[in-house]
Symmetry: C2
Amino acid sequence: MTVKDSLILLTNDDGIHAEGLRYLRIASEKIGRVSIVAPEAEQSAVGHSITLYDPIKAHEITREGVFYGYGISGTPADSVKLAIYSLLPRRPDLVISGINNGANLGINVLYSGTVSAATEAAILGVPSMAVSLAAKKAPPFEWALPHIETLARWIINNGLPSGVALNVNIPALPPDQIRGFKLTRQGLARFNESFERREDPRGNNYYWLSGQATSDETDDGVDVTALKSGYVSITPLYYDLTAHSCTEQLACALKKI
Amino acid sequence: MTVKDSLILLTNDDGIHAEGLRYLRIASEKIGRVSIVAPEAEQSAVGHSITLYDPIKAHEITREGVFYGYGISGTPADSVKLAIYSLLPRRPDLVISGINNGANLGINVLYSGTVSAATEAAILGVPSMAVSLAAKKAPPFEWALPHIETLARWIINNGLPSGVALNVNIPALPPDQIRGFKLTRQGLARFNESFERREDPRGNNYYWLSGQATSDETDDGVDVTALKSGYVSITPLYYDLTAHSCTEQLACALKKI
């Protein structure tokens, strides 16, 4: 297969009508054939949710009269499952999730729908990456495109270790100000967060989660730090949550119960 | 602090009215003081979702006229965050999530709301465990209670490595038929799953995910296998998704881009 014949599945967690997805399509169409399967509605912070107890609907979405992709009634992980098992003509060669409006770094990776779509693809044996741009308002998505194109070509040509997805975070800088790609680890520092308690007009309490800023990481090898230093941060992810570093210690301790 | 003064937070993903939670409370009240904060509605397969763009409501739920706990409008992970940051009088000494009706093994761990509540507690620095009973219909929750009590006491007395949550799966067997506790790894085998396409009365397609059975694991050290052999499977989990085994290989490869 040549790169031009490759099939790239695009998805996201901001919904099929998101601007980030439209830009991702521009970069991907330079490489190979593109299919889009994404949630119809915005699905931020859904984590690795899947839909077990409801059927999933898939609607054909058109843009300017031309078929654009399938909008589905499920989550980002559902989109990847349904695309690969049912909607695509064949297994894709690459899944890209994004472009997310805002970084997905550190512990946030666990909450991110964007990242979980890429992880789901990895579980299903398809190389994948989640792409996020570290901007919030009026994100300059076009700045991310050359990096995405480079990485997508590289993955299609070289593959990824089995079961691995890349979590790619791009600084909101023009391409010529980016210092390069940097392989990183997921940051593990806790957030400074809290709940703000308010009272509704009928005297009932309700709570807003606030202060979701990432905490100060100083470790050079961590995603947060690399991004701050102007690198495109690339963290390889694997779907094994086992705390391997302490299994021996705990196995010994358990014998004494 | 004596074990009797300990504060145990209980939550789940089946909702505050679930039978499994009622049994979990019975076991926990033998140990220390108990607080319940759980989703008001059933939240299976929500994974590690959190609520960022809506406020969370917390209702005081009573059972037979007595305060039972807070039912909240969010997810299992939200429950743990809100309890620890706002609702509890002090930091709990242990968080237990469950008792889930059905096992949470292998890759399912990523999709499990039960497990994500325990992981969230670990992120917030509180020792925790997720407890699941491997039964489906009319689950004999009482069979799980002595194991939960033993493990809960052990965690309160000994602590857990920082950031670690235990994923505990209990076979649906009377306590005297259990072969013991076994420290395990998360199974990584893929599922045999597919989508069943159906047509609604108006001719539109919709899709049901089916075949969610775990695949054949033979590795002795894995959660699925331990459970099948009659052990209580205990997998320590950590919230780092980095694929550490391939970071060096990928770092070298990236330099050639």
